[in-house]
Subunit: 250 residues, 2 copies
Amino acid sequence: MVVKSGSKSKSVEAQEPLFVPNANDASSATQDERLYNEILDAILDHRLSPGIKLKEDELADIFSVSRTVVRRALLRLCHDRIVDIQPNRGATIIQPDVSKAREILRARRLIERELVKEAMQFATPSALDNLRVCVEGERDQVRKHHVGSGLRLSGDFHVQLAQLSQNTTLIGYLKELVPQTSLIIAMYQTPHHTLCSHQEHFDLIDVIQSGDVEAAQSMMEQHLDNIEAKLDLGNERTAGDLYAAFAHVK
Amino acid sequence: MVVKSGSKSKSVEAQEPLFVPNANDASSATQDERLYNEILDAILDHRLSPGIKLKEDELADIFSVSRTVVRRALLRLCHDRIVDIQPNRGATIIQPDVSKAREILRARRLIERELVKEAMQFATPSALDNLRVCVEGERDQVRKHHVGSGLRLSGDFHVQLAQLSQNTTLIGYLKELVPQTSLIIAMYQTPHHTLCSHQEHFDLIDVIQSGDVEAAQSMMEQHLDNIEAKLDLGNERTAGDLYAAFAHVK
DNA sequence: GTACTATGCATTGTATACATTTCTTGCGCT
DNA sequence: AGCGCAAGAAATGTATACAATGCATAGTAC
């Protein structure tokens, strides 16, 4: 049962996917994979914000599939802790509170510290050059003021670096943590600030190439610390908080 | 469409759940939660082994639900990396190879080392007494030669300890790793050997109570090392490997 | 006798119809 | 005017029908 069509679908479908994130999972041949990636991309690009309700009928209409497919995609996003599904009340994009945000970044430090170490065992010069190309793309998007795309590629750098390690378990966890981080940035970013600096990414690649494991691990940890430091985790935010939105009114 | 009924369903439904594992997720009110937990329990009890095909019709018949519900449960298990879903070919329980097994145990060392530290901030004497009760139940099951139940409670100890930390991110990862470990044990266990010694669990609780964080972390790591050491990770196993099964024949 | 192919069966993928629950809104009561 | 309640609308949960895919077996050609 088609609710509304036309107007909304264009803006989503016209978007050209700059990068296909993770085609790792099973069922890549099925339709829900596409939906899953589309929604994930929209989150990484900050086209979808924390707290947004994802109605099954609307998504089914936009992507011209049945609710069955939509539900599969939403369930996967739920397991990634990117959307929250409440029984009989549907799916909404998560809104991490401050302590949750800190927890997620702490988990990233733990996991990426290990991943850097394991990745360095497989970091050939050509693999590192590929990484550099990835960061260059990120830098160019930011220069072109495509902030959303830049942010997505920034997350991509972390995943691609991780993938050198071939540790699919930890890579899987990181693939959940990166979109979560993107939502945290959306909620707690301070204005006019490039958050995940590409220069730090370049530096990180150089240190990895030097072969100093300890230094690389420290730099990764420092890099994630910097991301956290640039956020305003001092006071709570809520997407639907009208009081915060209209705080300037006396 | 009901394929076969009666004979098989009894053995599963008669099983009294000794413990309800994780009611953490959303959609706990829906039916697929029950299926998910039943299958998970069966895996933790070693009533379901690596490589087993999970046919949708059969499960739907056994639990008297539609395939819709079964598919939801299977998808969740797939995301937990406990079953493997291939498009158009259905779901089978994973068969971790040796390197995957080592990877999973390495991930556990990393994550549980951190979880112990964070849990110790909340480890009140009464919380630790609850843990002791849990281990006692484990010990009693083993004494009664209910090896499967003992193993399940053993995994439960690790999860309950983790839950003191209140770090839901890492707890979530551990909840995936514990059933995976159970499958690894099923594949690579050496005969006549209690694998996850409850005595080590008691000792671990004592060290936690002492307040020495470093010692507790080391002991947890050592405990997981011991589990790995008791496994035969020397040579590959395959559930369907006839050559291995009939190795004694000249 | 072997290899290739075609047909039928088994199983999964998708769409849709119906049941159930929740949310909204308007009415009536105090 | 404010509160509570009830009926309708909207959204989700579940079951089932049909389509598409994969697998096995039997048949045929070489």
